[in-house]
């Protein structure tokens, strides 16, 4: 089953590779991994999307907790949570396609953030599913490049991951 795991870790050189190394060494899946510093510059927050049986997910949580640099771990999938991903898509925008792409972008509540005489860059935020849907909705042949951040997640209401 798909799980989205959030963790706080020391913002130190090598901390990211300890997490990435753990996943490869033990044969766990990583669908996506996002990391950036938090409002406390000594801490980074990472969101990992992974999948596995209940036993594997339990081990992933325990093994993450065991890393010395990891200060807190929360399996967001165990409760109410939100997740968002950012995607930038560069598309070929010529003739009739320009209007069509503008329309689709509006429907999906995206924004065109760069315009040239032949291309658009479209910015879209949402769940991974929504981003997938957008890519399916537009003419596949028009896509020149896509870049996705991978999911970031946060617990709803009182579910707070903080030291």
């Amino acid at each position: 089953m798909r799980h989205i795991i959030s963790l706080l870790m020391e913002n130190e050189a090598g901390a990211l590779s300890r997490v990435a190394g753990l996943f490869s060494a033990r044969g766990y899946n990583i669908e996506s991994l996002v990391v950036a510093p938090t409002e406390d510059p000594t801490l980074s927050r990472m969101t990992i999307v992974t999948s596995g049986s209940d036993a594997v997910i339990e081990q992933i949580n325990k093994q993450l907790n065991k890393l010395i640099d990891v200060a807190a771990v929360m399996d967001l999938s165990e409760g109410e949570h939100l997740e968002r991903e950012l995607m930038l898509v560069k598309v070929s925008a010529l003739g009739q396609d320009r209007e069509e792409l503008k329309l689709m972008t509006d429907i999906f509540r995206g924004r065109i953030i760069d315009v040239s005489d032949k291309t658009y860059i479209i910015e879209l935020t949402g769940t991974g599913h929504k981003l997938d849907s957008f890519l399916q909705a537009i003419d596949h042949g028009l896509i020149l490049e896509t870049v996705r951040t991978g999911a970031s997640g946060i617990g709803r209401g009182g579910r707070i991951l903080k030291l």
Binding site: G14, G21, E58, K66, I68, L163
Partner: protein, 569 residues
Amino acid sequence: MELTGAEIAIRCLQEEGVEYIFGYPGGAVLHIYDALFEQDKVKHILVRHEQAAVHAADGYARSSEKVGVALVTSGPGLTNAVTGIATAYMDSIPLVIISGQVPTYAIGEDAFQEVDAVGITRPCVKHNYLVKDVKDIATTIKKAFYLAKSGRPGPVLVDIPKDISNNKTEFDYPSSVSIRSYNPVGKGEIEQVKRAAKLLLEAKRPMVYSGGGVVLSGAASQLTELVRMLGFPCTNTLMGLGGYPATDKQFLGMPGMHGTYEACMAMQHCDVLIAIGARFDDRVVGNVEHFAQVPRKIIHIDIDPSSIAKRVKVDVPVVGDLKLVLEQLLVEFRNIKRKPNAKDLAAWWKQIDEWRVKGGGLRYKNSTEIIKPQFVIEKLYEITGGDAFVTSDVGQHQMWAAQYYKFNKPRRWINSGGLGTMGFGLPAAMGVQLINPGATVACVTGEGSIQMNIQELSTCKQFHLPIKLLSLNNRYLGMVRQWQEFFHGNRYSESYMDALPDFVKLAESYGHIGIRIDKPSDVEPAIKEAFSRKDDLVFMDFQTDPTENVFPMVPGGKGLSEVILSEDL
């Protein structure tokens, strides 16, 4: 007064009460060796290969309750040390390894003897550090010692670039240190302890399965008290030998691939299994699906939550330091004032005794013509009164030593259980001998393993280490040969050891005593002679039966009750 980083590093070791360190100098650690030269509190043992430095520090740690320390240079010094570090990591041994690194300004430029030490060791250390500022050296080393010995112990690497070891700052060693993201556990949750106690009292066929954690936690006396109080059968894993006295009638021997029949059967058929500092290793439970076919409740006590429910389902997990948790359990049983059902327990012991008879105990067919390896270990046990420190290498000789030497005390059996590192025995024995001066230290080895670190005979000469080596020389990589006989149609691919040296002359050329033993009747006199030489290292080269196999055996992938007993008995 300002000190150099190198001086600070050595002062830290002094503050930690380190008596001996094991190492090998080189360019990137020259400042540290200079600082070592200027003092005499921390004594340095010059090994002949960095792998041996780490194994020696490891033996030092296993046989005491101290943290072992090794010092190696950058590049090849560090990569040579990696096998030693991985060995310690798999067996949770507290070590601090200090490695030199190229100067900070050269890192990343493929400098001479540069290697990414933190990157290479990351998967086989508890934690590691690259020190980038001389001001951080003292705190980093303090953290390294704290991490190495607290919680589930393990090796910690501190990589110090050459310029950092030469820069100066004030020395201030912190008296304590805390790491916000690291909080090792102490006692177990009392509710879980109560559930465990209740389940144990309800058991009809209980079994105590204890491992290396008992030895590491210093919980052998608590384990012994608990097992005797309850009257339950007990087994110790390869890493846990000595955790419960091997000569006690409640001891069933070692379980697993080369365990006793009764230990394997009791593990398989018990209705409540309490695992104490053991991790259901593949060499212990064999095929986990087969193991799970018999319904049983499992209580698992361990300091590391990730060891619990890793390979088998657990009904009552208890996370905590074993010594404290076992004390909690003892208190609980004293409060309950109930005993296990005597009738059920008697029936269970009757069953176990039947298995003991059926298995026939550990046995082999002795010979007057050719030396049987088991016979050598039996004589070693008798002559040393069961009280020696015994290190071993890896292979058949390791299994025979584990089976036939009855360890009644913890920290006496020193072997590479998890990683299975050949070449471990001799350097480990050096560390054991140094921290236990005057003690009897035997290294049980084979002609294959000993050649993986034989250069340490030179170190033993330099530092007067009177280790007794017993090499069970069968001219084969015996365990490989055994598997080839059983599972590869007798095709002995590359397992025959041709062109062996004359080990007697070899020992003599290093300045030691060598004895070659060919006949069974010479075994006892030779061991007696060797152990009477208190101040000498003696290398005993026993010419043993090349066809002897280790039994009982649970073949790889099979279940515990599919154990093969010796066929020729």
